[in-house]
Symmetry: C2
Subunit: 239 residues, 2 copies
């Protein structure tokens, strides 16, 4: 194994090099030899540094072509190590609390600031969700993430835009069991309400319909747990 | 460079291996030879897979000793690629909006669920912040992150616990300019108010004092921009 601190330092320098030179997604980096010169590090250290930025989804290596800025823009899979949280039920509850705090405002902003072409895409996704649910196609979960991620993008908040997909994907992974028939119907109506509010450029209605959607899903999950007699209030035990 | 898809698949299998076997922070993984057997992959592929989990802060390699589960629990630096966002002022505003949405509820939960020993730690940090500010020691920024991160931990929401330090560290990096004298005094008072509310086990007062704190800081930053005549409302331009 290589000298880790040196590799980390070189990776940091490489990151600064990328930012200082204004590299954009899809652009090609200089070759190993030139990078080695620019960063003042040996070629094997540079190779390790590149690998470390590949693992962080900042760079991607195309076989036989070179090293490029990744379209994943440095957003890594499971960046918070949610996979390490053992109590999956508690994690689901806690993630839903985050959505409850963030998503109504996101819908509100999407209604105020969203571009017309994005509203049309949103409608398209809503239609596809309904079709997938009608056909019992599990694709509806992925489409649901798309719906909420697009809203986050339309909100115009760059931080939220990165956050929401991570939160929603985590929930989908945990949550595949909870899509029973009643929940499907309620989910279709909820998405229609959110869409209508945004199409009408009605921020308050968008806020309220999203709040109502999240609360309904949260309650459905909780009811399921009550039925299975799982001891969970979504809250830590008192000391 | 190695066969990337194969390495990624092996990294995924290695991750599943770690979770299935219940490895805890600080525990040592089997050696490369045994891992290669367990994962059904060649040793050089396993080595690459290990590197990729090291880069994601899931594993750490100790020279001459072996591979261990990292205490960083898979939380990577800048997981959302905020370093890639060019408009730093917009990013700051957007991060403050996140704090405004999340932190009042966090303080509320900390007042209701926080452990006594954590409240004592919180008081200690608040005292150290005052000392650092009095001595013009830039350490107060790091202590401020500690204060808010401890609150997130006390909230008992496992998702928030991972999120808040990332948000706050991002802000500190951007934000070092904004600590003028008036802001210092207001920040001391705000931390005292939050602390008092939590010590009194008063969730509503904790919510309100945190909301007030975030709004004050947000306004100070905005005023600074107005003075410098920077065109920013913290909102995306209308279409």
């Amino acid at each position: 194994m290589a000298d880790r601190p040196l590799v980390d330092k070189t990776a940091e320098r490489l990151m600064a090099f990328i930012l200082d030179n204004g590299y954009e997604v899809g652009q090609k980096l200089p070759n190993e030899y030139d990078l080695s010169e620019a960063l003042g590090a040996g070629r094997s250290t540079v190779r390790e540094a590149v690998r470390s930025l590949v693992a962080r989804n900042i760079l991607e290596v195309r076989q036989g072509s070179g090293t490029y800025i990744s379209s994943k823009r440095g957003v890594v899979e499971d960046p918070f190590g949610f996979a390490f949280v053992k109590d999956r039920i508690k994690l689901t509850t806690d993630l839903f609390e985050l959505r409850y705090l963030l998503e109504p405002r996101i819908a509100e902003r999407a209604a105020q600031f969203g571009k017309e072409e994005d509203i049309q895409r949103l409608e398209q996704i809503a239609i596809e969700i309904e079709e997938a649910l009608a056909a019992d196609d599990p694709k509806h979960l992925e489409l649901d993430v798309q719906f909420h991620s697009l809203l986050a993008e339309m909100s115009g908040n760059v931080a939220v835009k990165s956050l929401i997909p991570v939160i929603n994907e985590s929930i989908q992974i945990i949550n595949e069991d909870y899509t029973n028939r009643r929940m499907k119907q309620s989910s279709i109506e909820a998405h229609r309400n959110i869409l209508k509010a945004i199409q009408s450029r009605h921020p308050i209605a968008a806020y309220d319909s999203m709040l109502s959607h999240i609360l309904t899903v949260r309650q459905t999950v909780l009811n399921d747990w009550y039925e299975k007699d799982i001891d969970i209030q979504g809250l830590p035990k008192s000391k």
